[in-house]
C-alpha cells in the first residue's frame, strides 16, 4: 500500500487556481520531495493532504484513509510541520513538547527514543522560551513536536527555508534517520540542490506537476547536451549565447552560464568560437551533467 495517494486534486482561491489536477503516490518509508519555487502551490497541497483544507476536486488517501471522510483518523497518524514557525513562542522548549505530546495522547518519556537524537541537541535549552531560540533550534524543536507521537507519515513544509547551510545538512541527516525508523517523509523545498537528497520527487510549477521520479530518472530524461560557459563580461555573454544557432536555452547559474544545445546542430567548439568572435574575453566552456535545476528549467520552458 502506498503511504500517500492523491488523484486529480484541484484547488482554486477565488480566481486564482493554486493546484491543478495533481496526482501523486508516495511509497511507504521513502523520502518524497515536492520541489518548486515560491507560489507553486506546495503549501496548498500540504494543507489538502493534512486535512486542513478541502480540495475543489479530486480525492486522496493517507495510509488508506480518505482525506475528506476519515480526517479524524488521519489526524492521529500524521505529523505536520508548517512552513512558518508555529509553536508557542511564550512557552519554553519543554512546555511546547509536553503540550504537543499530550495533544497526541502521548508523553515525552514514552517516546523519548523516537526523538532522542534531535531532542538531545535542544535539551540544554529546555527552559528557554521558544521565541528566544535561533532559527536552527526552532526548526529542531518544531521537528521534535511533529515527531513526538511517532507518526506514520511526516509532512514537512519547507523545513529548510531560512536555515543556514550547515543546519540544512544536519537537517537532512536527521531526515534519513527518521526514514530509517520507518516513517514516510513528505518534504517540500524551493532549493533545487536539496532535490537530489530525496528518494523520489515531484517538480511542481504554477500548480502543475511537471515531472515525477527518482532524481536519477529525472536527470536521465534531460534531452540536450549541456555546457557550462564562462567569459567576461558575463551578462552580455548570456544574451549573445542565446542568439546562437543550435542553442536551446541559456541560464545564469551562479558563476557560470548553463547552456543547453542540440548536438546535431552545433558543438562546444563552435559556441566557444562564436563567443570569442563576439569580443568576449577569458572564454571557457566545459561539458557538464545536468542537475535537477537544469531539468526544472528545461521542463518549465515547455
Amino acid at each position: 500500500m502506498n503511504a500517500i495517494e492523491i488523484e486529480h486534486i484541484s484547488k482554486n482561491y477565488k480566481t486564482v487556481s493554486a493546484v491543478k489536477d495533481i496526482s501523486l503516490s508516495v511509497k511507504e518509508g521513502e523520502i518524497f520531495g515536492l520541489i518548486g519555487p515560491d507560489g507553486a502551490g506546495k503549501t496548498t497541497l500540504f494543507r489538502i493532504m493534512t486535512t486542513l483544507m478541502l480540495a475543489d476536486a479530486g480525492k486522496g488517501r493517507i495510509c488508506g484513509f480518505d482525506i475528506v471522510k476519515d480526517y479524524a483518523q488521519i489526524r492521529q497518524i500524521i505529523g505536520y510541520m508548517p512552513g512558518r514557525f508555529s509553536l508557542y513562542q511564550d512557552l519554553s522548549v519543554q512546555e511546547n513538547i509536553d503540550f504537543f505530546a499530550t495533544m497526541f495522547g502521548t508523553t515525552l518519556q514514552d517516546n523519548y527514543e523516537t526523538i532522542r537524537e534531535i531532542y538531545s541537541q535542544i535539551e540544554p535549552f529546555r527552559k528557554r522560551k521558544a521565541g528566544k531560540l535561533s532559527g536552527g533550534m526552532k526548526q529542531k524543536l518544531a521537528l521534535c513536536c511533529a515527531l513526538v507521537h511517532k507518526p506514520s507519515v511526516l509532512f514537512l513544509d519547507e523545513p529548510t527555508t531560512g536555515v543556514d547551510a550547515v543546519s540544512r545538512k544536519d537537517f537532512w541527516n536527521m531526515l534519513y534517520r527518521i526514514k530509517a525508523s520507518g516513517v514516510t517523509v513528505f518534504v517540500s523545498t524551493p532549493y533545487m540542490d536539496e532535490a537530489g537528497l530525496c528518494d523520489r520527487m515531484a517538480l511542481i510549477r504554477q500548480g502543475n506537476i511537471i515531472d515525477t521520479g527518482t532524481p536519477a530518472e529525472i536527470v536521465a530524461k534531460y534531452p540536450y547536451a549541456l555546457l557550462a560557459v564562462k567569459g567576461t563580461p558575463m551578462y552580455p555573454l548570456l544574451k549573445e549565447l542565446r542568439k546562437l544557432d543550435g542553442v536551446i536555452s541559456c541560464f545564469s547559474f551562479g558563476d557560470s552560464h548553463h547552456l543547453a544545445y542540440d548536438p546535431a546542430k552545433t558543438q562546444k567548439e563552435n559556441i566557444l568560437a562564436a563567443a570569442v568572435a563576439a569580443g568576449f574575453k577569458d572564454c571557457t566552456a566545459w561539458e557538464i551533467k545536468p542537475g535537477i535545476e537544469d531539468c526544472f528549467m528545461q521542463l518549465s520552458e515547455q
Partner: protein, 370 residues
C-alpha cells in the same frame, strides 16, 4: 481528559506570561469599578452659593442661614448686585446664585409677597437642575415655617414628600455597579476569548491544533474555560468591592445573582467565539469587540443614558444587547431584592440568547482552515 487539562494549563501560561493580558483581565476591572464608583458620580456635593440681597434684612438672614445649614450647600459669597453673578460663574467661584428682592422683609410681612430668584449655571444643565432643586427645597422649608408662624397653626396644604425607594441617598454607584459589572464581564469574556483564538490562527498554531487528534469542540471549550474562570473571579471581586467599598447592598439572593452572572458569562463567551470565527487577525477581533460590543453595551445598557428616553427604533436595537438584560436583572436582584419570579422574563430572554449564540458559534467553528 488529560489533553483538556494540558490545554487549559497552556492557556493560563499564556495569560500569566503576558503583562498586557494580566493588566486587562485582572487590574482593569478593579480600576474601572473604583473609577465609576467614586470618580464618576452624578451626586452634587459642596455647592457654592452666592447671595445677592440685603444681608441686614432679618428675613433674608433667616433664609441664608437655612441654606448654609443644608449639608450640600455652602454660602460662599455675598454680592451687591446681579451683574456680579456672571463673572463669578465664569471664574468658577460659585455654582448657584440666590437673589432676594429689595425690602424683602417688609414686602413679605406687609404685602405678604416677596420674591426670590434662583440663578443656576446652565452650561451644565444636569448639575444646574439638581443644584437649583436643592436650593428651592431649602427655601420651601423656610416657607413652611413662615406659614406656621403667621397663621399660628398649620394651614391645610399639600406638600409632597419625595422618597426614593431602594436608594434613599440617591447614590449613583447603585446605577453604575450593575452597569460596570455587565461591561467588564462582556469585555473580558468576549474580547479576550476572541483575541486568544484569533492569535492562534495568526501565529499558525491553530494549524497544528487542528492537525492533532483533539476534537475541535474540545479546542473551543478549553480556549474559553480559562476566561470563564477569570470572569468568575472578576465577578466575585467586583461584588466584594461594590459591597464593602461602594456600600452597594445585595438585597436579593446571592445564589440567584451568581446564576444570572454565569449565564451572562456564557453568552459573552459565545459571542467571543463567534467573533473569532469571523475575524482573521487580532486587530479585526479587537475592532469588532470594541466597536460592536463595548460601545453598544455602554450606550444601550442604560449605564449612561436611560433606554426609555431613546427613540423607539433605538430601543428595539437595545433589546438585542445581552448586557441590557443582565444589567436589568442585576439591578432587580441587588438593589430591589427581587426573587426569581420577578426576573423570569429577562432570564428567559438571556438564556435564549446564550443558547442561540453558543449553538451558532460551535456550529460555525471550522474543523479546517478557511
Amino acid at each position: 481528559m488529560k489533553e483538556f487539562f494540558a490545554f487549559i494549563k497552556k492557556e493560563f501560561l499564556h495569560i500569566f506570561r503576558d503583562k498586557r493580558t494580566i493588566l486587562i483581565v485582572m487590574i482593569m476591572p478593579i480600576v474601572q469599578i473604583i473609577l465609576f464608583g467614586f470618580a464618576i458620580s452624578t451626586e452634587v456635593n459642596n455647592v457654592r452659593v452666592a447671595i445677592v440681597g440685603d444681608t441686614t434684612d432679618p428675613e433674608v438672614r433667616k433664609v441664608i442661614d437655612r441654606i448654609d445649614n443644608n449639608k450640600y450647600l455652602t454660602v460662599t459669597e455675598i454680592l451687591s448686585n446681579t451683574n456680579e453673578i456672571s463673572p463669578k460663574f465664569q471664574r468658577n467661584e460659585a455654582d448657584v446664585a440666590v437673589c432676594f428682592s429689595r425690602n424683602f422683609d417688609s414686602e413679605l410681612h406687609s404685602g405678604g409677597k416677596a420674591s426670590i430668584r434662583i440663578i443656576g449655571d446652565g452650561s451644565d444643565p444636569n448639575t444646574a437642575q439638581m443644584i437649583t432643586s436643592y436650593v428651592s427645597g431649602a427655601i420651601q422649608d423656610e416657607q413652611d415655617d413662615i406659614t406656621i408662624d403667621y397663621a399660628g397653626e398649620q394651614k391645610t396644604s399639600m406638600s409632597p414628600v419625595v422618597q426614593l425607594m431602594y436608594n434613599p441617598a440617591m447614590k449613583s454607584s447603585y446605577n453604575f455597579v450593575p452597569g460596570v459589572m455587565g461591561l467588564i464581564l462582556m469585555l473580558i469574556c468576549s474580547m479576550m476569548t476572541a483575541i486568544s483564538i484569533v492569535k492562534e490562527k495568526e501565529t499558525g498554531t491553530m494549524e497544528l491544533l487542528l492537525v492533532s487528534p483533539v476534537k475541535p469542540l474540545w479546542i473551543i471549550i478549553s480556549k474559553a474555560m480559562p476566561y470563564l474562570v477569570l470572569s468568575i473571579a472578576n465577578f466575585v471581586s467586583i461584588l466584594l468591592l461594590s459591597h464593602y467599598v461602594m456600600e452597594v447592598p445585595v438585597n436579593g439572593s446571592l445564589f440567584l445573582l451568581s446564576g444570572v452572572a454565569l449565564l451572562f458569562i456564557i453568552a459573552s463567551l459565545a459571542i467571543g467565539l463567534l467573533i473569532s470565527v469571523i475575524a482573521s487577525n487580532q486587530r479585526t477581533a479587537l475592532l469588532i469587540s470594541g466597536m460592536g460590543l463595548t460601545m453598544p453595551t455602554m450606550i444601550f445598557s442604560g449605564i449612561i443614558f436611560p433606554c426609555e428616553s431613546m427613540p423607539e427604533i433605538l430601543q428595539w436595537v437595545s433589546h438585542i444587547i445581552p448586557a441590557k438584560w443582565f444589567i436589568i436583572m442585576v439591578k432587580k436582584i441587588m438593589i430591589q431584592g427581587d426573587g426569581f419570579v420577578y426576573i423570569i422574563k429577562e432570564l428567559s430572554i438571556l438564556a435564549g440568547m446564550a443558547a442561540a449564540l453558543l449553538a451558532i458559534s460551535i456550529k460555525s467553528f471550522k474543523t479546517r482552515l478557511q
